[in-house]
């Protein structure tokens, strides 16, 4: 309870600010309309009119909430109008990218820790790769992957998501695989342990806490990548596609509802990864 109270207070504060901003921002339209109609409106008349516009500049929370509710529970979840369905499409893309990102990140980290030349040549480029705005690359990735015969929108989306999510995994794994100190490494050497044995029995277990810590960041990055990938990849399915359509057809409510649906998805993903992390820690005997 002591933890929930401050969060609730801040949330309520934010909602109050949101309502105030909605009145302020949507009022221009009400006044303009009145002027065009040749009438005047008082402040008291104006406020209710800002609460239920079809295309508000900033929809008030209850409008977004209603649209979100309609999208989530208003129809069968298999319907194309269901946000659950589009959320699932985005979720699938996120998971594919997340998986691909983990594999790439871990393999690269292993190679970097094992071979000095990999460390020296690849690591700087891995950092530079993250400074390239992925959105600029997205259309290129789509054309290239279709050129390679990977048709469909799933693969390019997953590549974009993986591009963003491999980096946190890579950085943490390199740190983790290098975390055993010289004494431990020396000890294994006195046992006559092979490279492979050192890796399996010492380096890999030692890197696990680092690995799990990076997953939360990676899954969030993967979701961002998927949504960015859905914006330009031929707007068909997924939360990103709905945001785009909402923007194009002047339906701000669809846009806001998709935005909040993606927020919910992000929350769920981080929650699940957090639980997995805690379970893994417990199994590995970390203090609870």
């Amino acid at each position: 309870m002591t933890r929930a109270l401050p969060v609730l207070t801040v949330l309520i504060g934010l909602i109050v600010i949101w309502y105030a901003a909605a009145v302020w921002m949507n009022s221009t339209w009400v006044y303009d309309q009145a002027e065009r109609a040749g009438t005047t409106v008082t402040f008291a008349e104006m406020v209710p009119q800002t609460m239920s516009q079809d295309r508000p500049l900033l929809p008030p929370p209850h409008q977004v909430g209603a649209e979100l509710w309609k999208g989530l529970f208003g129809q069968a979840i298999t319907s194309k109008r269901s946000l659950v369905y589009h959320g699932y499409v985005t979720f699938k893309g996120t998971m594919m990218g997340f998986g691909l990102g983990i594999i790439t990140g871990v393999l690269l980290a292993m190679a970097i820790v094992r071979f000095r030349v990999m460390d020296m040549s690849v690591m700087p480029w891995a950092i530079i790769s993250q400074t390239i705005p992925i959105v600029a690359l997205a259309p290129m990735i789509i054309t290239l992957s279709s050129q390679l015969g990977l048709s469909g929108r799933e693969v390019p989306k997953a590549i974009i998501a993986a591009y963003l999510s491999f980096f946190p995994v890579l950085v943490s794994m390199v740190k983790g695989l290098r975390s055993p100190d010289q004494m431990q490494l020396d000890l294994l050497k006195t046992y006559g342990a092979s490279d492979a044995a050192t890796f399996l029995k010492l380096r890999l277990p030692a890197s696990m806490p680092y690995f799990f810590a990076s997953l939360k960041v990676a899954v969030a990055a993967s979701l961002v990548g998927t949504i960015v990938g859905e914006l330009p990849t031929g707007a068909i399915e997924g939360l990103g596609a709905r945001m785009l359509i909402g923007s194009q057809f002047g339906e701000p409510l669809i846009m806001w509802a998709s935005l909040f649906a993606s927020a919910i998805l992000a929350g769920l993903l981080i929650l699940v990864v957090g639980i997995v992390e805690r379970l893994a820690q417990k199994r590995m005997g970390a203090p609870a």
Binding site: S121, T131, S258
Partner: protein, 281 residues
Amino acid sequence: MSVLILALVVWLVLWALNVWLAGSALARKGVGKALVPLIFGVAILVLWEGLVRGLEVSFVILPPPSLIAAKIASSLPVLWQDAAQTILKGAIPGFLIGCGAGVLVAILIDRSPFLQRGLLPIGNFVAALPIVGLAPILVMWFGFDWQSKAAVVVAMVFFPMLVNTVAGLQASERMQRDLMATWGASYLQTLVKLRLPAAMPFIFNGLKIASTLALIGAIVAEFFGSPTYGMGFRISTEVGRLGLDMVWAEIAVAALAGSVLYGIVSLIERWVTFWHPSQRH
């Protein structure tokens, strides 16, 4: 086909050179550290050029690096104009305002543990959200020019910065704070002399994250409306005209700008947090 084989041979030679360099005494010096990644980059470009020319990939799909370089050389004024609009007017002001606001809010709520406990989980959550989705909305609110781009950047960098600074302000040790108290230091003195310096590694971590986010935000926002110049504008327009060499030229500029921004932040970090273990060599 022979072009492809030649490129592969060059790639292998360069890789072998790198393996030798990494094992040699040069690798411990600055020269070697800069040379190895450089050779790796050149090798990739050679391979790219060879693949495109050898497999006769249409330039409309993937232009070879030589063509992109020629395009960069021939359109410097346009690239500069685009970069000035997107980076100098959109990304940098947004980065400064967003990061400044993040640090400031973190310091303001520092005295209220209640607000901190309320804001931190929400900030953590928002920092993980695809804020990019706000871009069309912010373009609608702030108009076409750089203001809306800066606004998107502010929205993207604010929360990571806030979260990192709040964590940083809690990084000083109990003993250090007690020591300050025994010296009769005021809240402000403790903040300036102990807690802010102790927070610097965290703040710079946030700044590094923000520096890459800033470019992404400014470019995405241009997809949803812009004047007739800017990097995002050029990329989306040239994709439509099949001017892919120009698109890659803009990507190269973006990568360069991103790396420079990141590099500047790292340099300042080294200078400010020289005392931190991670900076000792």
